[in-house]
């Protein structure tokens, strides 16, 4: 393995809310349910957790310092040692994992949350593009995904039918996921009969608008077995970024994902399950090509973001879904992927394993 992480770290508890079209209470309430759940699972006192880190987005709630109010969910008093990233909570997990590599603390509580329903996500997320050339155009993530889909089709790497296959399988798998928001048993032909939303994308190629939260406790190896029966080991995390200008990228490929995969040595042994942050169906085709996953590897058995997209928790939920399958003994080695920015601009990979440290 190329990643040199001297301290073994395990996921010892996970929790997530269902993905709601609209959650009729505060973002704090969403996080609080998850945090209380993971704390109960490990049987720790809240105040014995060494470090707390969250991922959320103030622009979503339209409230400066919303992330500070979210601290209510983890208990703000007495003061806790905490940090926040204005990113998907998978990046909070990355910081938590690195923080444990210092060797002076043993446990971290990671949470991610987002309520997209009160705002208009299409009007929020173009604000993360370059502020001179792109943001004033309102170049939103749906439109960017449409441009990427067209580029894939024109390159001959995928067809609208391929996109529909991703949607059909994901939303059918979601029928077995109690946290899924959109689940349906639809054939490819039925999906292709739907009208375009942002041609060549149809509405079902887009993720739903969701409210939700997720939380996780990770610990060093020396306490992991005391905190849970089946720790899931984080073997490595790597994340890479590409240009924010769509015109400077090959939109039909994900070189950043490929580099992260090589750094993590994902092909060193078989991957049984991969939970990929497929926000738009064409992204799965691109990620599959970049990752070269083996035959028989389950991809997004949860349904993925096409079945529920609690923005800022979506990536962390991918780690949770892969870890749950490993902890339950359905898989031995898993891959979780998170992304940020338009058209898979930034990609994070996390390799997980069950068994002994």
């Amino acid at each position: 393995m190329a990643i040199d992480a001297p301290i073994d770290v395990a996921i010892v508890a996970t929790s997530q809310t269902p993905s709601y079209r609209h959650f009729d209470d505060t973002e704090v309430a969403l996080i609080m349910d998850c945090v209380n759940d993971v704390i109960t699972q490990v049987g720790m006192d809240r105040h014995d957790i060494d470090f707390t880190i969250a991922g959320s987005c103030d622009y979503l709630s339209g409230m400066p310092f919303a992330f500070v109010q979210n601290i209510d969910a983890v208990g703000a008093w007495p003061p806790v040692y905490e940090n926040h990233v204005e990113m998907d909570a998978a990046w909070a997990l990355n910081e938590a994992w690195i923080r444990l590599q210092h060797g002076d603390i043993k446990t971290v509580l990671v949470s991610g949350s987002g309520k997209s329903s009160p705002g208009r996500p299409r009007e929020v997320f173009h604000l993360q593009t370059d502020p001179y050339y792109s943001a004033p155009l309102g170049l939103d993530s749906v439109s960017a995904a449409g441009i990427q889909a067209r580029a894939l089709i024109d390159s001959g790497k995928a067809s609208e039918e391929d996109f529909a296959k991703v949607v059909s399988r994901s939303r059918r798998d979601a029928l077995h996921n109690p946290n899924a928001q959109v689940a349906a048993d639809k054939t490819v032909d039925e999906l292709l009969a739907e009208p375009y939303f942002s041609e060549p994308l149809r509405r079902h190629d887009l993720p739903p608008i969701s409210d939700g939260a997720a939380a996780m406790i990770i610990s060093t190896a020396d306490v992991a077995n005391d905190l849970c029966d089946s720790p899931v080991w984080i073997r490595g995390i790597d994340h890479r970024m590409e240009s924010h200008f769509l015109g400077l990228r090959d939109l039909t490929d994900s070189p950043s994902t490929r580099i992260a995969a090589e750094n993590l040595g994902i092909h060193d042994s078989p991957i049984d399950v991969a939970e990929l942050c497929v926000n738009y169906s064409p992204e799965e085709v691109i990620l599959q090509n970049a990752l070269g996953l083996p035959e028989g590897c389950l991809v997004n058995p949860s349904g993925g973001p096409l079945a529920g997209h609690p923005v800022m928790a979506t990536g962390l939920v991918r780690v949770i879904e892969a870890a749950k399958r490993i902890a339950a003994g359905h898989a031995q080695r898993g891959l979780a992927h998170a992304s940020s920015g338009a058209c898979l601009q930034q990609n994070l990979l996390c390799v997980l394993e069950g068994g002994d440290v």
């Binding site: 705002g119 004033p136 375009y196």
Partner: protein, 331 residues
Amino acid sequence: MTTQIPDSYHVLEFPYTRTTGPVVGPFLTALRDGKILGSRIDGKVYCPPLEYHPTTAAAVESELVEVGPSGTILSWTWVAHPTPKHPLSESFAFALIQLDGADTPLAHAVKAASSEAISTGARVTAQWREECVGAITDVYFVPEVDAEQQKIEPGEGDVIITEHLISLTISEPLHPHRRRFAEGLLEGKIIGQRSPASGKLYVPGRGYDPMERIRLDQSAEEEVADVGTVVGFTEINPVQYHGQKERKPYIRCSILLDGSDQPIQGIDIRHIGVDDFRVGMRLKAVWKAPEDRYIEDLDNRYGTIPDTVVERWDPTGEPDVEPDMLKEHTI
């Protein structure tokens, strides 16, 4: 009597002004004046022009060269339902357009009658708006065959600042506990939530106890006194920033209602001078007549007692509370 309680609604706005620098500035100036520029770096022409090397991110001396105004669509999507943030109000295409003379494509909007008029490889031409301000939105594109000859009058001076107003509308029903708080106010009652875990009384309730991290529901709710003590205040001399509605100085204070454990914040005092206002002062709500009460500007964020239900807060005439007794509640 039923009075409408509006949904939680607020608009977040930031009027960003940004300096343009040595590359974006000349690009926007030229765009305003009818020309599109790219930057030549290592023999390749990038449009939009870059201040830095696209691969190494090193600072580069950009040679700016004119490109376009026509080009070729490399990829596109049809925006059937534009949002208010989009540059065109009718259905249009977003496209990656490789302008003639450039080696990389620019993302921009193409105005066309329908998606039938757009295809990969199609030729498009820039059209300038009637009023150009030195922004990327000064132009849009149309199919080359539809392009009109334009004479662009150059503007004055260089574009050294861009203005970009960010405006986000956030709206949802009031949370159930916030709605019950609002209903209470219309009835002349202040409703709080008492945590069974800590015994603390929060007003207004937020649906949870932040100290003990438990959720609170209707069973935790009780009426709170409408008399209390000032625990903190500030005199606000309104600075005329974007969105400011206030013109005259006023006091904004926090009041710890009797029996509660958390001051209610954001109470505005306009009839007591700052020289007569003190921490420890006792105040009582003077309610509006029931038929005059209504709820406005009460949202899911902070929660206060608006002056649309309480006319003002009058001194009770009781002796002040010793400020030292309030130190747990001051910020």
